[in-house]
Amino acid sequence: MKQTRRIFIKHTAAAAGAMGFPLIGGAQPAPIKIGVLHPVTGALAFPGQQCREGTMLAIEEINARGGIKSMGGAKIQPVLGDAQSQPQVGAAEVEKMNEQGVTAIVGAYASAICLAHTQAAAKYNIPCIIDQGVAEQIVQRGLKNVFRFGPGYEKVVRAGINYLHIMNTVAGRPIRSAVLVHEESLFGTGTAQQIARDLPAMGYEVLETIKHANPTRDFNNIALRIKSRNPDVVIPSSYLNEYVLLLKTLKQQGVAPKAIYSIFGGGGSNPKVIKENPGDVDLVLDCNHWYNPKNPKSREVRARAEKKGLFFTHEVLMAYTVTMMLGDALERAKSSRREAVLDALQASTWSDHIMPYGPTKFVNGQNEGAQPLVTQYLKGDVKVVLPNNFAEAEAVFPARKG
């Protein structure tokens, strides 16, 4: 057939129409932009990247399930931000995200960054879902846009001390004295201060509180000081590298307290740590964010993360879970408007999660049901040992006779 101009135009129009039809007939809803803000460079790069991976894991899951169904299957589009481990950069990233039209922001791991970024976001009414920042001030400033799913550090420290007391009482009170070792910033100092205040009230003697800098590359002196005080339990509150190094040094120096029990221990419930240092950290106890092992979905999520080559640390876990909570809020909000999402978060009673919290209930931005679990390194993995309704193994306590 001869290709005339009229035939060419007709065919082109038909082809264009056919190609355009699905776009018009079954138009995809606009994606919902979510800010993913973490310190992925700088001093906090590793935990920050873990948080980002956790958030991405949840976004992939929500999108693979067909997006936000109440909005016609709208997909979530992450808008990545790097706080560069500095609060001011975190706040600047919020401005960028606001202009890109994000509906909410998930982040930002460190308390100092959370304080800065939530305040910057408050101006635009952007809902901020806190994944890790544990400082109480984050939810105590009256900002209506802040929602923390996990527990703050006061609650965790209180629970941690209670759990230690319960284990000790059940075991016939083998533990009577403690040495606290902590890193020198907000997390370590705040935790150690509260432990040092609360522990004596329960009948324990705090022999010494030892502070160390970040980073510390030699714990020999600290190990020897601990050895000289001969405590029943060592309670470290340090970040990952220092935590592991302290435990290795204690072993090298032959310091063997009856138990090593941390609260928010940087390396106390980390599958990577037990895999790489089995002999050094075995039987260490930690009170921290952890998933409900009795929920079958927990294993599924962990397996999916590990299939991606991730270590399923609590950073991945918390970032994943809070993003799933945001997905639930979006589903109920039926809108990507910030006000609607804020209302949905405020009214959230989400229970389809893998944490041991029960349905969410936000009071002044804090999820009231949030609680930590006690885990122990057992048989090459992290096992929940307390409280009993979530325990998957019995605690080995005391770990040694001392």
């Binding site: 790097d82 600047a92 202009e99 100092a112 800065a116 305040q119 400033r141 890193e183 910033s185 502070k211």
Partner: protein, 329 residues
């Protein structure tokens, strides 16, 4: 006033007028924040420039002055309920006093070059340890300013409030640099930088000149600390006295051009733009963006030993736009 001084003063006034008008044309809060942060870094760089650039005394520990200012603002507000605007003045005085103390201790004993740099680094570390220890500075937990939005509390609701505040601080810094460039004290300071022994032989009181420079530099740096606390409302020892602040201050001055009026400003804006661009280009691979940022810094420092302002002056000479080397005005 010499024609050169008038020319550079007019240039400063024109620049500040342009910057003052800028917010009227910026609709983006992100770019406004970008400008605020670049100006804030420039103010730190200018403070370092007074001592390091004009005086040739390279400090690696300017964070101590920044931290003193930041903690002065935080402690006076939180512990004593003093209005933050008043703390600005107090921080200025305390920063200057810290500078005078450190200067008296170091210059009295003739410390210079790398020895002076190391001692300032050590002083900053001592301040960090002290802030980490004492309860009244919040120790390791740090200090948080109460959220109370309002211009009276130095917590502006609109970003433009912070913009004009930091622009005023930068303006004061530019005027100090201009004064150093064209005053007798500035000439003494430059003489000390070029050859301390020769300056002494010519009758310059080297100790007093250096002491004056570090006092002024410390006071300016402390002002930056107050601004930081008011904008981000939280400070802890690593944020206040960490090496990051010291490096930031000296880097913008070195990249822009030490001992020049506009060097720190040019350096701050260039580095902020480079950082922004590398992050935007390869933000999904954050380590790569930092590597690219580092590479660009190495290239700049290697090929522009007199900073960007020196490079621009040399380019202007090559193009025949300038007949002689006459500083940066």
């Amino acid at each position: 006033m010499t024609p050169s001084a008038v020319r550079s003063l007019l240039f400063i006034v024109a620049f500040l007028a342009a910057m003052a008008l800028l917010p009227a044309f910026i609709r983006s809060e992100f770019w406004l924040t970008f400008l605020i942060l670049a100006l804030y870094t420039a103010s730190l760089g200018q403070a370092w420039n007074v001592l390091g650039g004009f005086g040739g005394q390279y400090s690696f520990g300017h964070a101590m002055f920044f931290g003193v200012g930041a903690y002065a603002a935080a402690v006076l507000q939180v512990r004593f309920g003093i209005n933050p605007w008043v703390t600005l003045g107090a921080a200025f005085v305390l920063g200057g006093a810290t500078g005078a103390m450190v200067g008296a201790l170091t210059f009295r004993y003739g410390l210079k070059g790398s020895y002076f740099a190391l001692v300032t680094l050590a002083f900053a570390e001592v301040f960090r340890v002290l802030a980490n220890t004492f309860e009244f500075t919040g120790a390791g937990v740090g200090m948080m300013i109460k959220l109370a939005p309002g211009a009276a509390n130095f917590q502006f609701v609109a970003k433009t409030g912070f913009y004009f505040t930091i622009l005023s601080i930068v303006a004061a810094g530019l005027m100090v640099a201009w004064w150093l460039k064209h005053s007798r004290f500035g000439a003494w300071l430059t003489a000390v930088r070029e050859n301390e022994d020769a300056a002494r032989a010519l009758g310059v009181d080297v100790f007093r000149v250096k002491l004056g420079a570090i006092t002024l530099s410390g006071a300016m740096m402390a002002t930056g600390g107050v601004f930081y606390v008011q904008m981000f409302q939280y400070i802890d020892p690593p944020l206040a006295f960490g090496a990051g602040i010291s490096v930031e201050a000296l880097l913008v001055a070195i990249v822009g051009g030490m001992g020049s009026i506009f060097g720190p400003l040019i350096g701050a804006f260039t580095l902020a733009l480079v950082n922004h661009t590398t992050t935007e280009l390869i933000g999904r691979a954050p380590a790569l963006s930092m590597a690219l940022y580092g590479l660009l810094l190495i290239v700049m420092v290697t090929f522009l030993p007199n900073g960007l302002i020196g490079g621009l002056a040399s380019l202007a000479r090559r193009l025949g736009l300038r007949q002689r080397s006459g500083g940066d005005e």
